[in-house]
Structure formats: structure tokens, C-alpha cells
Amino acid sequence: MFEVMMYDGGIYRSEELFEMIEDIGGAVLQKNRSSQMLSVTMSVPEGDRKAIEALCKDIGGEVKSVPLAGTEIAIVGPTLGRHHMPHPICDIAENLRRRGSITVVMGLARGRGKKTAQINLEEKMIIDEYDAAVFMLGNFKNCVEAKTELFRDIDAPLVLVCGPVPEGIDDAYDAIVSGVGRKMERMRTAPERAKLDEIADAVERTLSEKRKILEEDPLFVHPAEIKQLLEDYEPVNMCLRPGPIVMHLDGLRVKIGYEEHRRHVEDMAVYGRRLGEICTISPSKINDSSMLIRIKTRSEVEHDDRRAGR
């Protein structure tokens, strides 16, 4: 079993950490450097956790648990206007990032109001690209309940965060956290921090359900293995966008053009297979400069093999 953890510290002697991760057969999932500080999200064999912890302590950093590592979550507000941003949407996103997730803050194009609020198919498809989505609605119960209709057809696990306790919409969301409405200030008091943790716990629970489903029919390869493969591909290696490869529970988002690189990515070999055979590769709905790789499950690959007469 692999365990995901995060190193948080300086860059001093960080090479030793990367060497150890490689030696024990682990993988670096995410690396963020800010000035002299470094945070590394890594996946390492369970048995080597103590050795990693000891090394991190030795080089002056600390090890944190990151239960949401390897996930990408969308935090969706009705708009990106000042009524909804930056608080509490950015506070929620920040707290999820602290637990290891990659977060994206989105606003709907026509999500304001009650009767006139809309969501279009493209927005729904974009939200579906993420492992989970957190919807942030406001202070009025009636309005929260009415707006739920907008999110009915979304397949990604949904967590609703709103002010009042809504009624009759439990089936529309995987989790509902109430007590957070429109805010003017950062959520920094103790009860507010507790509420942010409650939201992160709800997201964690929702994703653990998705993980359980994946465990029943595991992916053909782990996303981290494809990530390692892609890191050696020059356009990805040279990509200047933040986090050129983002891991999902069942695949990856790679920030290189779909049309230009699809063929090369499909032809990459993993466990003697072409990536195109064991994954579904599609352009991101956000724009053409990213592609989505969804890894097929073992049963899906077997099914495809039977159909192809292999």
C-alpha cells in the first residue's frame, strides 16, 4: 500500500528527499516552490513512512497528512462578482488545498439571481471534469432550494455549502454543510475555521465513496505511474503553466494541447500497452490547451481486449 503525505519546509537538502523517494519506489505527485520554501506531495510505500519522516525532520521540514492529495476539486459560486467572492469561496478553496487537493474556483456566467439564474451544458461538462465540486450558495433558504435545480444533471460528486438548512434537496447533493452564507471577511474565527474543516471533511467523505467504487474495480494503472511517464515528455516538461499535470482519482489533466499532442500521448507505452488502449483521452471542455486522460478499469480493458479478439 502506498501512502500520500506532504513535506513542508525549505529547499535546503531537498535533493536528499527526492533521492530517497526514488530509492524506495515512491513518486512525487506535486511540487510547489515559493522562494526558499518547498512543499512536496508524495506517494510512498507505507513501510517507508518512518524513514521519510525522519529525513524530513533532519532537513528542517515537517510531514503533513494530505487526505485529499491526488484530487482536483472545483469550488463553484453563482458568479465571480464581489457578492460571492472572495469570501467564503476562496477560504474553502484554501482549506482544501491545505489537505492536498488542487482546487479551481469557478463562477457561473449567468448564475446570479433566483428566477433568472442559469447554468449551461458547457458549464456542467466542465464541472464534471473534476473529482468533486463544492457549490457555494447564499443566505436565503428558499433561494438555495430553488437554485438546486441548476445542478441536478451533474455527475461529479457535489457538496453544497450554504447558510440555512435546506429542505427536500438531500438527494441532489452528496453532502450539505449549512451555516456558511455570504461573507464580507475572511473566515478566521475558531467557529469559522471549524466550519471550514467540516466542509473539507464532507468533501473527504464524498471522495472516499468514489475511492471505494474504484477499489471494487481498480484502474488498470495508477495515475501516478502515467504522471511519471508524462513528465519525461518534453512539451510537458517545458510547460510553464502551474501544475502541468494534475492528478485525478481516475486519471489526469495534462496542460498541453490536445490536437497537437494526442497522437504522441496515445502511443506512449505502459506495461507493454499503448496509453490509447488503456485510457480515454479527450480535450478539456475549458479550452483546447489541456487534455483529460481517464484511465480505464481492469474490467474495461479486459472487455476491450475480448472485443478486439486479443
Binding site: P78, T79, G81, R82, H83, H84, R112, G113, K114, K115, T116, A117, G138, N139, F140, K141, N142, C143, G163, P164, V165, G181, R182, K183, M184, E185
Partner: protein
Amino acid sequence: MDVNIISEDEYGDRSYSDLFTRIMADINKLSLIEKATLVLKPTVPLFIFSVRMRAEPSSKTVADAANARSEGANVHLTITDERYAPSILEQLWKKFGRESVDQQTRFDLDVIGASESEVKALLVASDEESVNDMIGAIWRTMPEGIKNRRTFIDGRTITVVATEEIMEPYMLEEGMKIHTAEGV
């Protein structure tokens, strides 16, 4: 400031009182408001926000927001109301040029080669501007998307009636009733 909430939504009632106060404080308008009445009917939706200000908005000159005294050929200004500091500086630059305005501290500055009466008479905020600022502040506190709005202004009271689609006559009547009750 006294905030009176008339609401059909329990959570909205509690949170809007706090939200209104915080937003007004954030944009520096809280001290201008004596009392406010907020009618929240999200089911309609209809929102009536009525505020009674401490004083009727009037034009402000430099003399209202700063102490001025002649010092030889110059005028020394000490800004007493920080809200008008950016506007004072802007007007002085416009009238006398940047090179003639020597700002020593946040609130102290010399205007070189100016007369005291000339500086004191400079307009730093018009009454219309103050009213517009207050209306803007009220819009900011209202929920987003409630864009069909009508405004009543009388003396010290400003009332904004807002709905999402068609403004029905009964909504305006209700708004006027709140406006009158708030006191003109």
C-alpha cells in the same frame, strides 16, 4: 446604528443584519447612517433597503474637512476628516499643480503660493456624489441578481426597492410606505 429587519427567512434575518453593518463599515458609510430598515422577501423576490442618514447630504469644501492657515505666501492644511483626504489632494493638484502641493505627512500639507480663502472654497464632494455613494453602498449590500431597482430620495432618507423581474405597483407602494415610515 439601528438596523431593523423585516424578513420571512429566519437565517437571512440574522445574517443580513450583520452583513449590512459589516459592508457599510467596510466602505466607510456606517458612521453616516442613523438607522436602517431592511425588508427581505426572497420568495417574491422583493428587497427594500431604507436608510436614514445622520445629516442631509450637502456639498463639502476643503474648509469642512480640513483646518487651513496662512503661513507667509503658503497655506498649511491639516486634514481633519480622512474620508475626504484623496479628494482634497486631487482638487489641490488640479487647481495649483502637483509641484505646488507639498505633503509632509498623511494629514499635513502645504500649498505653495495659494491664498487661504481660495483653498478653503475648493469643493471636495458634491451633495449628488454623497447620495450616489450611499445608493451604491446600498446596492452592494443587496443580493446579487436583484437588478430591477427604484430609488426614493427625500431629505435624509434613501430607499431602494429591488426585485428580479417585473416591478409591480404593490412593490413600489410597499417601498414608499417604508420610506415614509423611516422619516424624511
